[in-house]
């Protein structure tokens, strides 16, 4: 057996029973329950890094949306355009922050059960929403250009 197996076996040392009593696993701990087995710690760490990467993406979207709404000069003729671009970015950031946690939980569960990892919704959600917002920004810039230079 390779040494790589040792972190996984260490991982099973802290079972939920130790913290919550036998048969009362803490649902928030994502700890294994009956019929599940703590995976190799490297898979758990990789899942955690994926969560952190999505969290940083979410944070960047929130701050990007705030920057668009607060720092961009108003579009001539379309003063509300900054808000129409910024608010969806902020909302997308919040949605991704929540979804990446639920996906981390689902992936951790699948790893413990030895099942295939669930397909992530986040890349499609991010790509689709960014594309729509970019299209919206282009239309608003065009409308602004037309209305301010008749």
């Amino acid at each position: 057996m390779s040494r790589a197996d040792s972190p996984g076996s260490e991982g099973s040392a802290g079972s939920p029973d130790s913290a919550n009593g036998p048969g009362r696993p803490d649902p928030a701990s994502a700890a294994p329950v009956a019929g599940e087995r703590e995976p190799d710690a490297r898979f758990t760490w990789a899942n955690e890094r994926t969560f952190l990467a999505w969290s940083r993406t979410a944070l960047a979207l929130v701050v990007g949306g705030l920057a668009v709404a607060q720092l961009l000069p108003p579009f001539p003729g379309v003063p509300w355009a900054r808000h129409v671009i910024g608010i969806p970015l902020i909302l997308l950031g919040a949605v991704i922050a929540v979804l990446c946690y639920t996906e981390w939980q689902a992936s951790q569960r699948a790893l413990r059960r030895g099942e295939p990892l669930p397909r992530s919704l986040l890349p499609r959600l991010l790509a689709g929403t960014i594309a729509v917002i970019a299209l919206l920004a282009a239309v608003l810039a065009l409308v602004s250009a037309v209305t301010s230079h008749p």
Binding site: A4, E38, S55, R56, A97, Q105
Partner: protein, 99 residues
């Protein structure tokens, strides 16, 4: 995992590298929170100060070792709550400014 041919990957020799990469990911996340906190501090100190405090907490959490699966869920929930809180504050700030 173990390869009879002796061509183990480096992490089979030292699995701690995965832990080190994860610790670095936590550090990057803490720095992201700190950067957002500094930006917010200039114009909205009431939001910026808690975000800076959160960045310190995230920094410290990234350095905790032990059983990753059982200890991490609450730590990750904190990050999710932090980002949704910042998003809510950003929404209020944006809606409060003129259209």
């Amino acid at each position: 995992m173990s390869d009879p041919g002796g061509t183990d990957e480096i992490e089979d020799v030292d699995p701690g590298l995965a832990g080190a990469r994860t610790e670095l990911a936590w550090t990057r996340t803490a720095i992201s929170f700190a950067a957002v906190g500094v930006v917010l501090l200039r114009h909205h100190p009431l939001v910026g100060i808690p975000v800076l405090a959160l960045s310190l907490l995230v920094w410290e959490l990234g350095r905790l070792r032990g059983n990753p699966a059982t200890r991490r869920a609450r730590h990750l929930q904190l990050i999710t709550a932090g980002i949704t809180g910042i998003a809510l504050a950003a929404l209020v700030i944006t809606l409060a400014t003129g259209w």
